[in-house]
C-alpha cells in the first residue's frame, strides 16, 4: 500500500509534465522535447528568488511561474512561430536544439553541482491508516487535483478554452470562425511551460537541483502521455499515475536499476494491444 501511494505521488509529477506536453502537442502539433529543460530553468529561477532574494516560498513559486509563462511565450515567438508551417519532424528537431541550448546555457550560469531545494510544505510524515505521507506529498497530490479541475473548467466553460479546443481540432476552421490562432498557440506555450515549471519545482526536492534533473521526468512524462493516448488531458494524468505506480512496484519487488526497462516494456505491451493508447479514442485513419 505504501509503495502504491508513493508511486501515485511520483505519478502526479509525471502526469503534470505530461499534461504540458499533451497540451502543446494537441493544439500545435509539436512534441516538445525542451519541456523538461524549460521546467529546469524555471526551477533554477525560483531557487534564485528563494535563496538570493529570500522571498517566501509561495511568492517565489508564483514569480517563477510567471517567468515560465514568459519563457514559453519567448520560445514560441522566437523559435517555434517561424517554423510553424514546416513538417512536424523539423519542429521536433527544433525543440531538440532548444533542449541542447537551454541545457548548455543553464550549465554555464549555474554550474553542474547539485544543490538541495526546499519542499513546498515542511513537516514530519504522519500516518493515515497503514501509510506514511509527508505534508509535502499531500501538497503535490492536492496541487495536481486542483490544476486538473481548473483545466477541466477552463476548457469546458471559458471562451479562451473553447477557442483552444477549436484550434486543436481544425486550425483553418477555427481561424475562419474568428479565432486568433497565433494568440491561442502563444497561450498554450505559456500554459505548457507553467505546468512544466510546477512539475520541476515538485521534482527538485526529491532529486536535488541540477541541470539534468528533469531528464528522467521528461522521458517518463513522454511515456505517460503516450500511454494516455497523447491527445487526452485526463489520459496524460492517468498515464502518469500508472507509470509512477508501476515504476515504484518494480523497484520494490524487482531490480530498482531496471525500472525504466520494465516500464517501457509495459508501455510497448499496452501499445501493442491498443496502438492508439488507453485514452486515444478511435484509431486515426490516415487520408490518402
Amino acid at each position: 500500500m505504501q509503495i502504491i501511494i508513493s508511486g501515485l505521488i511520483f505519478g502526479c509529477v509525471y502526469g503534470l509534465a505530461g499534461l504540458g506536453m499533451v497540451l502543446i502537442y494537441k493544439t500545435t502539433g509539436v512534441v516538445n522535447f525542451a519541456q523538461g529543460e524549460m521546467a529546469m530553468i524555471t526551477t533554477f529561477v525560483s531557487f534564485l528568488f528563494l535563496s538570493s532574494l529570500n522571498l517566501p516560498y509561495l511568492v517565489s513559486f508564483f514569480l517563477a511561474l510567471a517567468f515560465a509563462a514568459i519563457l514559453g511565450i519567448v520560445i514560441y515567438q522566437v523559435f517555434m512561430k517561424r517554423i510553424q508551417n514546416q513538417s512536424h519532424i523539423f519542429q521536433m528537431v527544433m525543440t531538440l536544439g532548444l533542449f541542447l541550448i537551454l541545457n548548455g546555457v543553464a550549465g554555464l550560469i549555474w554550474g553542474h553541482h547539485p544543490t538541495s531545494y526546499p519542499e513546498a510544505v515542511q513537516g514530519a510524515p504522519f500516518q493515515i491508516g497503514s501509510v506514511f505521507v509527508t505534508p509535502n506529498e499531500l501538497f503535490v497530490v492536492g496541487l495536481t487535483a486542483v490544476l486538473m479541475l481548473l483545466f477541466f473548467f477552463f476548457f469546458k466553460y471559458s471562451k479562451v478554452g473553447l477557442a483552444m479546443r477549436a484550434s486543436s481540432q481544425d486550425i483553418t476552421a477555427a481561424e475562419l470562425m474568428g479565432v486568433k490562432v497565433s494568440t491561442v498557440f502563444l497561450s498554450i506555450w505559456a500554459i505548457g511551460a507553467i505546468l512544466g515549471g510546477v512539475a520541476g519545482m515538485m521534482t527538485a526536492p526529491i532529486t536535488f537541483l541540477n541541470i539534468n534533473m528533469m531528464f528522467t521526468v521528461l522521458v517518463m512524462a513522454f511515456a505517460a502521455a503516450v500511454l494516455g493516448g497523447f491527445v487526452s488531458l485526463p489520459g496524460a494524468l492517468v498515464g502518469g499515475l500508472i507509470v509512477g505506480v508501476f515504476e515504484n512496484l518494480v523497484s520494490y519487488y524487482g531490480a530498482p536499476e531496471m525500472k525504466m526497462v520494465y516500464t517501457f516494456l509495459l508501455i510497448v505491451a499496452v501499445l501493442y494491444i491498443r496502438p492508439q493508447g488507453i485514452f486515444g479514442g478511435e484509431k486515426m485513419v490516415k487520408k490518402v
Partner: protein, 333 residues
C-alpha cells in the same frame, strides 16, 4: 566551375582521395585519425537512420542502442570465442539486425509519436540492460577489445574503416535506388496508396528496421575495434537524438545529407570541447539556424550546382517541400 561542382563523380573521387590521404595530412596523429573514424561511425549510423526516417517515414529515437549492441557483440564474441574479425564485423551487423527485427515487429503496428516512445524506450533500455548484465558485459567496467594481429597498427585499421564506410555508402546508395528503396518512399508518402499498389506494408516496415539496425550494428563493431574498449555509456539516448539532428541538419532523405550532418556533428565538439558546456549550445544553435535558413538541410546549398538553370527549375523546390510534407503526415510528430 559550376559544372565541376555539379559533377558527382568528381566529388566522390575527391572524397575518396581525401580519405586515403588523411593519415598523411595529419601526420598520423592518433587524435585526428580517431576523429575521422568517429565521423565514419556516425556517417554509417546516420545513413542507416536516414533510411528509416528520411526515406521510410518511420521515426526512431533509439537508434544509438544499435551502436551499443554492435559494439558489445564484437567485444563479447572476440573476448569469449576469439572469432576472427572478418566474421565478427558482419556478425555484429547480423546480431543487431535480428534485434532490429524484434523491435520492428511491434513497431509495424505503431506510428508517429507512439513509435517514437517505443524506440525511445528501447534506446534507454539497452544501456541499462548492458549495465546490469554483469556476467556477459562486465557492467560498469566495460570490456576491452583487441584487434587482430595483422591489423594491429592504427594506420592499417584506419584504411579498413575507410573501406567499409565507402562500401556501406555504396550499398546504401543502391538500396535507396532499388525497388526496396522505392517501396520505402511509397510507404512514407502514403501507406494506403502503397498498399493499393501491392506493397506489403508490414514486411517492408520490418525490413527497414532490420536494414537500419544491421548497418548501425556494423558501425558499432567498427567503433569497438578502433577504441579497443566498450562501456555502457559510449552511446546514450543523447546520441540517438544527435543522430536525428544530424540527418535533419544535413538533409532528410539524402545520403550526402546524412554524411554532411554526421561529419559536422563530429567536428563541432572538437572545436568546442575546450569550454565546458559550450558544445551543447553550439550544436543546438547549429540546429536552430539550419532549420531557420535551410529547412531542407545543408545539402540543399549544393542544389544550385546540380541545377544550373535555376529559373526554369523554380517549381522543383516546391515539389520537394511537398514530399517533405508527406514525411510530416506520416511521421506525425
Amino acid at each position: 566551375m559550376k559544372q565541376l561542382l555539379g559533377n558527382k563523380k568528381a566529388w566522390v573521387s575527391l572524397l575518396i582521395l581525401f580519405a586515403l590521404a588523411f593519415p598523411m595530412l595529419v601526420g598520423n596523429s592518433g587524435y585526428f585519425m580517431t576523429l575521422f573514424v568517429l565521423a565514419c561511425v556516425y556517417v554509417i549510423a546516420a545513413m542507416a537512420l536516414n533510411l528509416l526516417v528520411g526515406f521510410g517515414g518511420q521515426i526512431s529515437v533509439g537508434n544509438a542502442a544499435f551502436l551499443v549492441i554492435g559494439g558489445y557483440t564484437v567485444a563479447i564474441l572476440a573476448g569469449k570465442y576469439n572469432l576472427p574479425i572478418w566474421l565478427l564485423l558482419p556478425l555484429s551487423g547480423v546480431v543487431t539486425g535480428v534485434i532490429g527485427l524484434v523491435i520492428g515487429l511491434p513497431a509495424v503496428r505503431l506510428s508517429g509519436h507512439f513509435l517514437a516512445v517505443a524506440t525511445l524506450g528501447f534506446g534507454l533500455s539497452v544501456p541499462q540492460i548492458v549495465l546490469n548484465w554483469d556476467t556477459m558485459t562486465n557492467g560498469y567496467s566495460g570490456l576491452s577489445v583487441s584487434r587482430p594481429a595483422f591489423l594491429s597498427s592504427d594506420i592499417q585499421f584506419f584504411y579498413v574503416v575507410v573501406l567499409i564506410t565507402l562500401l556501406v555508402i555504396w550499398v546504401m546508395n543502391n538500396i535507396v535506388k532499388s525497388g526496396l528503396g522505392r517501396a520505402f518512399i511509397a510507404i512514407r508518402d502514403s501507406e494506403v496508396a502503397a498498399q493499393a499498389n501491392g506493397i506489403h506494408i508490414a514486411f517492408y516496415k520490418t525490413m527497414m528496421f532490420v536494414i537500419s539496425a544491421f548497418f548501425t550494428g556494423i558501425a558499432g563493431g567498427l567503433y569497438a575495434y578502433w577504441i579497443g574498449f566498450v562501456s555502457p555509456d559510449d552511446f546514450s539516448i543523447v546520441t540517438s537524438l544527435m543522430l536525428l539532428a544530424m540527418i535533419v541538419v544535413g538533409g532528410m532523405a539524402s545520403i550526402p545529407g546524412a554524411i554532411i550532418g554526421a561529419v559536422l556533428f563530429t567536428i563541432i565538439p572538437h572545436f568546442t570541447n575546450a569550454f565546458v558546456g559550450i558544445t551543447n549550445i553550439v550544436i543546438g544553435l547549429a540546429v536552430v539556424l539550419v532549420l531557420f535558413f535551410r529547412p531542407k538541410g545543408i545539402v540543399s546549398l549544393f542544389d544550385f550546382a546540380k541545377k544550373p538553370h535555376s529559373k526554369q527549375e523554380s517549381s522543383e523546390p516546391a515539389s520537394a517541400s511537398a514530399s517533405v510534407k508527406g514525411v510530416a503526415r506520416d511521421v506525425n510528430l
